[in-house]
């Protein structure tokens, strides 16, 4: 199901939590809504779910205006940040809640509940009371409960906020598989870029109630519209441009073709090639000195001092041999 929102405005005690924003979530796609706390992410989710009526604007599901529809009529699956399990029920009865209130026939109920439990691998603890489950188990049951509603779209609000790093990684991958397998439209609210990249192919970046940028995750990663988006989505080397001629820029002696109209070049750490002193001639790269080198658990993270360019970061697969290196930026760079 495609979700459109048009000119949404929500005021909370005089402050505009959402400020006339419009956009869409593609049918069958997974979109992450990213931004810092207070950007309006949760407000957007609550408007989509019908839990807040917007002060202005419309929400459409597959083109149909649902702005005045109550939450129970929207057929969405919502996974809340605080999970909101019914602690007085068993895990299974939590999952069965939606089929039950929808008065699905008992045998079909059983089938749907079992399917949802199987999808999140929650069979083993399904018959325990919800209140005794561990953090990871509660997370799984919250997802299963939303899935058992056979929702037209999934809305997830910081779904892993309460999990530790290891569990977060594994449940995130599981959720990714489930959502792809079901082909359900999903919107993930998060302030964590790892969550966003791991789950979603499209991003909506919110900031102070307004949309900062929208697009495919790799597009936003490599071609952010603003410095804010550039640093939000990953470590960023931002280097001042010396001169610009058309679509070519000169940075500290090197000329590169450039996209964007900014005054600073964005070079992602993995785009910066680190070469030994012998392999590059001075016109191909910048001289730099390694100031810190550490194994990052996904290659090496090199901290460099490149003189007037300032400190730079590079990610490399093998650590550089000496202290003095050449840095080679990519052929095409993006400016912000």
């Amino acid at each position: 199901m495609r979700i459109d929102f048009e000119h949404l405005t929500v005021e909370v005690s005089g402050h505009r939590a959402l400020d006339d924003i419009s956009g869409a979530f593609a049918s069958g796609g997974v979109t992450a809504v990213i931004g810092p706390s207070g950007a309006g992410k949760s407000t957007l989710l609550r408007v989509l779910a019908g839990l807040i009526a917007p002060d202005a604007g419309r929400v459409r599901f597959d083109g149909a205006d649902v702005t005045s529809l109550r939450p129970e009529e929207r057929r969405l699956g919502v996974v809340f940040q605080d999970l909101r399990l019914f602690d007085f029920l068993s895990a299974r009865d939590n999952v069965a809640f939606a089929p039950r209130v929808a008065r699905v026939p008992a045998s079909l109920q059983l089938e749907r509940v079992d399917e949802a439990l199987r999808l999140v691998r929650a069979g083993a603890f399904a018959d325990r009371p919800a209140r005794v489950l561990s953090g990871g188990e509660r997370q799984r049951i919250a997802i299963a409960r939303a899935l058992a509603a056979r929702p037209r779209a999934l809305l997830l609000d910081e779904p892993f906020a309460s999990l530790d790093a290891e569990l977060r990684r594994s449940i995130r991958e599981e959720l990714r598989e489930v959502v792809r397998a079901l082909g359900v439209t999903a919107v993930v609210i998060t302030h964590d870029r790892d969550d966003a990249f791991a789950l979603a192919s499209h991003f909506v970046v919110l900031s102070a109630g307004r949309i900062e940028q929208v697009g495919a995750s790799n597009e936003l990663y490599l071609h952010p519209a603003t410095e804010y988006v550039a640093t939000l989505l990953g470590e960023a080397n931002l280097v001042a441009i010396d001169a610009r001629e058309g679509d070519r820029v000169r940075v500290s002696g090197l000329v590169r073709s450039a996209t964007g109209n900014g005054r600073r070049v964005l070079i992602r750490p993995e785009q910066l090639r680190v070469a030994g002193a012998a392999t590059v001639t001075p016109t191909d790269g910048w001289a730099a000195r390694v100031t810190d080198l550490r194994c990052s658990g996904a290659g090496w993270r090199v901290q460099l001092d490149a003189g007037s360019l300032g400190p730079l970061i590079a990610y490399v697969a093998t650590p550089p041999a000496g202290e003095n290196v050449w840095l080679v930026p990519p052929e095409e760079v993006h400016t912000v």
């Binding site: 939450p71 129970e72 057929r75 699956g77 019914f86 939606a98 209130v101």
Partner: protein, 246 residues
């Protein structure tokens, strides 16, 4: 040490089953004698009515105290705490002052029918409510802190209609609170002595009869039986309601 707290009760049991100078045990006579039985019945009925009324009346108050965000919430909570701080005998005094033959309430409202209600079952009920409503409200409020709006929202997103919300979510969440409030209120009413002694002139109540068994008849087995009955009923009700007294 704990034994020291239980031993008196054990003694009470023994005394309640003893015969003293009579031909039957105190416990037997409590249930056989129509006057004593009436006192027990009155006490139970009064406690039941007061507890049910308190719970019913205080549910909205407790909900708004627990979940509302209004000015003066702390003040309201403070006001509700006042009757609980008062000794039963003070409340009894207030009851007579308000509802007695020269009471202020009948005078204020210019009604005759309230006059002297202090000495009847109705006045007793109203007086009990004066401190049982706050007690029930504050007890319930603490338990209602678990009724989060979030759970109701979650249920709505899962498709629950208003009536389903009430029965499938709100009720299961509130039930322990209601039970706790009922238990605390019932036990407190059952054992209430100060008010009962001052007001209950026209009909027997168990705590008052127990007191009279000292000062008047000196019938220890019957007194023990009444004390035991009061004690066990209060303990049982609190136990079942999952709430301990304070």
């Amino acid at each position: 040490m704990a034994g020291g707290f239980v031993w008196p009760l054990a003694r009470l049991c023994v005394a309640a089953f003893s015969r003293g100078t009579e031909s039957h045990s105190g416990l037997y006579r409590l249930f056989a004698d129509s006057y004593a039985r009436r006192a027990l019945g009155h006490s139970l009925a009064l406690s039941l009515v007061v507890a049910l009324a308190s719970v019913a009346i205080c549910l909205p108050a407790a909900l708004s105290l627990a979940r509302g965000r209004f000015v003066g919430r702390a003040l309201l909570r403070g006001v509700f705490a006042i009757p609980l701080a008062l000794s039963g005998v003070v409340v009894g005094f207030l009851a007579v002052a308000m509802l007695g033959n020269a009471g202020a309430l009948p005078a204020l409202l210019h009604t005759e029918w309230l006059r002297g209600t202090a000495y009847g079952l109705g006045g007793l009920g109203i007086t009990y409510l004066y401190f049982e409503i706050p007690r029930a409200t504050l007890t319930m409020e603490a338990a209602l802190a678990t009724v989060e709006d979030g759970l109701l929202e979650a249920a709505r997103t899962l498709g629950a209609r208003p009536r389903q919300l009430v029965w499938l979510v709100f009720w299961p969440l509130c039930a322990p609170a209601l039970r706790a409030a009922f238990g605390v209120t019932f036990a407190a009413s059952l054992g209430s002595f100060g008010v009962a002694l001052i007001i209950a002139g026209r009909f027997p109540l168990l705590p008052v009869e127990l007191y009279r068994s000292f000062t008047g008849t000196l019938d220890e087995p019957l007194g023990a039986a009444m004390a035991l009955t009061l004690a066990l009923l209060a303990i049982a009700v609190l136990w079942v309601s999952g709430r301990r007294a304070r």
